[in-house]
Point group: D2
Chain length 381, copies 4
């Protein structure tokens, strides 16, 4: 049973791959292997035992469909996964698998590894957008154009000013996202009650080794302290909103009665099933649709913050799928708007014509200097 027709149109293939079964399993097995190696390094288990566990993790072939059925029953990935690993190992190694860890340690660490991968992907498209807008904004910094406020013609601006403002917003959102993921994508390792029990006082050291191996930040256990997750979710929501601003403006500029800019022609894109000659702002559609959906998803993450006791019931289990959805929407939006920004067709004749009809004068104030100042902070290729 596949869901390509629901998943693909709002996300990129690359981001879908970040959250695919194969990736989940790879990260979960990497967690268990890293745990074994760290425990061996700290003298809790024998090196040969760790090697045996790591070897099984490296070669394990698990059917994700079957596993998912068991996960749905168990309520957590780790239980059926660890059971399989144990079944593939002999006594001492079987007993040592997952030692001192709890299901949530695996779930949260896997999710954070995926956040790192997702942020890396997003950075690429966000940078493409900033770079493209940088060029457009600079080129049109001093082109007089109608400035519009409250959807009414107001005073002239340099045409590039709106693009520079938008680029600055996207750039700020991109940096925020990168910063939050760098700070909050941390190893989760605390054991059943978050006390690092049964580890002979080596829990913190083990966590540190695992973090290094899995390219995550070091952290004390954060099972019910979800401020970091909320920070990542907020940053994703803000980035999607900043992209929505660009999409809103492009779609308004592309109205036939305005016609100052429009999306590039993409083979197979933007057509209408009923009106063959229409050129729809389909990239903007993807980004605006994402911007409508993201705020509610961020709210879901915030709603889960008051989690119970050492590890809550329902709250953290709700976060994973919501973060996935936010990353998919961000990817779909960023990819769509990167294409739009790079190929944006700007019509100087229409800009001049609209300004002439608007009868709002020609004084663009400090537009040129503002464009320079705004772009000074923005990524460039």
């Amino acid at each position: 049973m596949t869901h390509h027709l629901h998943e693909r149109p709002v996300a990129t293939s690359a981001m879908l791959a970040v959250f695919a079964d194969e990736a989940v399993l790879r990260h979960a097995l990497a967690f268990e292997a890293a745990l074994a190696r760290a425990e061996a390094a700290e003298g809790l288990i024998a090196p040969a035992v760790a090697d045996a566990i790591a070897a099984v993790c490296a070669t394990s072939a698990i059917d994700p469909f079957e596993l998912a059925e068991e996960v749905a029953v168990a309520g957590t990935l780790a239980i059926p996964l660890v059971k399989r690993l144990r079944a593939a190992l002999d006594g001492e190694a079987a007993a040592a698998v997952h030692k001192g860890a709890t299901s949530q340690d695996v779930a949260d660490s896997v999710l954070m590894m995926q956040m790192v991968a997702a942020a890396d992907l997003l950075a690429v498209d966000l940078k493409r957008i900033c770079t493209a807008l940088y060029v457009h904004a600079q080129r049109h910094a001093s082109t007089p154009a109608v400035g519009r406020t409250l959807l009414q013609d107001a005073l002239p601006i340099g045409f590039g000013l709106r693009l520079a403002q938008t680029a600055a917003g996207i750039d700020a959102a991109a940096h925020r996202l990168a910063r939050e993921v760098a700070a909050q994508a941390n190893i989760q390792f605390g054991g059943a009650a978050g006390t690092l029990a049964g580890l002979e006082g080596k829990g913190a050291a083990i966590a540190q080794r695992m973090a290094a191996e899995l390219s995550l930040g070091v952290s004390l256990p954060w099972h019910a302290r979800r401020v970091g997750v909320a920070a990542i979710a907020s940053a994703l929501g803000i980035a999607i909103g900043a992209l929505g601003k660009l999409a809103r403006d492009v779609s308004l500029l592309a109205q036939n009665a305005v016609a100052e800019a429009r999306e590039p022609v993409i083979e197979g894109r933007g057509g209408s099933s009923a009106m063959a000659h229409k050129r729809n702002p389909t990239g903007c559609q993807v980004a605006l649709s994402a911007a409508i959906r993201a705020p509610g998803l961020v709210a879901s993450i915030l709603a889960g913050l008051p989690q119970e006791q050492e590890r809550g019931l329902g709250g953290w289990q709700a976060e994973g799928p919501v973060l996935v959805e936010l990353c998919l929407l961000a990817a779909g939006s960023a990819a769509a708007m990167a294409t739009v920004a790079e190929g944006l067709e700007i019509d100087e004749v229409a800009i001049a014509r609209n300004l002439a009809s608007a009868d709002v004068g020609q004084d663009i104030g400090e537009s040129v200097a503002l464009v320079s100042s705004l772009l000074a902070r923005v990524w460039k290729g």
Copy 2:
């Protein structure tokens, strides 16, 4: 690329099937076939042409992965789908495919067919819950128990009263959902600008025929009038919340210090990867997790209401995936709580012991009569 590990744990297989590629394609092809037949019946196209179209729709084998790639580019399912159908037909029939329809007609009608299927599935599990709670509530209507308010012991209640109240809430939510879907799951057929143009004045008649064939309600075009979609979404959100109330109460009753009731033992469920003897309220976890996520999703649908002009940009495109998510969460929650309700283990000794320690008296007021009155409205097997 599959996503079973993300999809399955929070939904049922049956509901995942409602939204699978196979179902989307089946409904979309049923739409095109019904359209052709209706247009033939109204004399707009030749019967033989309609037969040819319907035959292609019935036998079409489309790879959903490939199609999804094209949908992602086109921004809508109908464009690549209609293109394929046309390629499989000769001149007159090719030209007649999709006649007078627009992409959104297909998308909305398919979505509404899925809503009908989803509501049917949900009704089964919601009824199971009501039936099970009915039995428990009646059996324990006069069992004195601690009533608790603001999380503090308050006054005695009949133990069945809380269950009867919860059943009444779920029952009301279930009826609301069934009612809204029955009223709002309507055919979408308006053509490119919602004017039923190019149909020789037969548009309304065609829509009526299509609705009958596709088991949808009859409606005037509702491309940018999304009150019905919002009503369905709200009903789903309310149902998920009502199930969350049951899960909250069961999980509080199941606390070891209270121990008045707990989830049944399910092979492979509720265990801990670190504490083998633990019995986690895993069914409640699923339902509480859904209850945390649903409100934001409903908000997303409401946020899309102010759609532009004849057919909007981004708003309606955001609705489909969100309604899917709400249905998946509702299904996962209802199935989990049906199992919990049917197997709920109620411990009368613990109930009596807690009441004795609470020292709040024995007067359960009109509990018994209230249970009867509440249950009088509730579904029973």
Copy 3:
């Protein structure tokens, strides 16, 4: 300390009055008086005692500022209010005040009395809007105009079709709101644990009498069964969204480059502090602003559904202020759009000019019939 500058711009004075201190006190005192009278009628307290209580309720002069300080400490209105009433009565009557009731009985009943008043107010402005749009839509049913989809010129429509569609949406939302409030604005009376304890089996009869006196619906206690509250909140959110659709369309029509319609001139409205000659769509601004805020508020209500046990902690206490906010936003939006709809300036010359430039033909399909069918359901003056 007043907050007029924050409150007034987004709401109407009339709706602010519905939730003012004076109204809260009036309703709360009406509750206590009705309770005493009902208990006297059912023989639980002496008629003279009920008269004494009712007399104090009728003449009580309470400083809301002082009371609010005590409410903030107590966590509920009823505690300091009942204390004041008792202090103003002698022994038997003092003891009889609030007999069998709990704080939440007062809070919920007061809130529902306010919902009834709010719905009555909203109905007036919603009907004004429908009536005005009815007239405009009918007058321009056959005026050919550019139909726009995905923010692009598409095919011609009758200009009145968009207005009729919007009117039908607002009308449906208005009827839904009226229906939900009529069905869900019910008396709350259950006592401390919702068992109607201490009332000698007369609890249900007392509730029925109180409902009649307070013009509320009859209901079994619904302390932790909040489906009805969620239904009212959803209906408010949907109404605000349907108004947002009108505002979105008017603001797009009012763009200088389109100029097909605009808001009427209102003395003091729509100006700019910097551009004296500008005519901003200020009514639309109010409605769009409300449409951005409402979805999150509805989500807050849905998030509170899983309330604990007999009466929850935090959930129902969150509902009151959120419902208030939704009613204020709905009122502000409906009043603003009533003014806009009634005074909407439609420019047939611009409509014709835009259609001519769009080069999309002249076939408006079944627009005229659709307008008639849509308007057939809509309120008219």
Copy 4:
């Protein structure tokens, strides 16, 4: 018309004062005075003119009720305010008032001045909470207690560990809030179309002077670039959620069957109107109620991000009231939980008794070290 009974219970008087009419007017007049002085310093207006404007701003007595009526019509505070100032000045000064500024410059700058004041207030109560939890956590770091996961008894913890984890979460949220307000509470000054037109190239210099005088950060105009507002809103939402975690845990500990900790006795607080001897967790109620409401409010801010063109319609106008609400909720929650944290009654006998019944062993793992590490980052008195 006052709304004390709705406003006060969920907020503090001090925070209500931050957003009171008096404060709005004071800040708005400070903006206009600062603008005049800055323009004089840059040579755009005569020093005497600036003095005259500043003098009128300093002495202006404006009735907020009357002004609010005009604001409701105008759609913005600045228009009627500037009109009043002009009326109080003679020709040259009247003309110079508000020179180069737009309504949104005033609105946003006033809002940011209020954010600074709000953040200062919140920091005090958040620090009180951290300090109190610090002391409790340290004192009970090695007290063995039942650790609970998924609402079930799990493994032992040091009782202080849960408090230390919660303190670390609140501390992180507090620092995030302070950091975001420091970075984002910036002057808004761009003029009608955000170009700093009509200021002879001195716009940026004027903005810098104004920022210094008004204790705001320096910024390029950010009329439609709302990432900073969204960041502040998210930080408020996260703080409210982190406080909700504390409230959730205290309320669960305070259940009669658990009884390990409870809120302090506060005269007039936590009683029941029906059960005189009950001790409700009323502080937790306030914080949990705020935690239910905040996520939807943050979503509203995020939903407004895609604002149109130079200055949007509806989006930024929606932000002010929502930020106000978030600050009020944060204040109410922080004040309530400060009282709870400082007076928290911890019952070591109950803790030991529960641990004994739980039969989960005595190994608290690295709890003591974890408490130290967590507290090392937390504010202390």
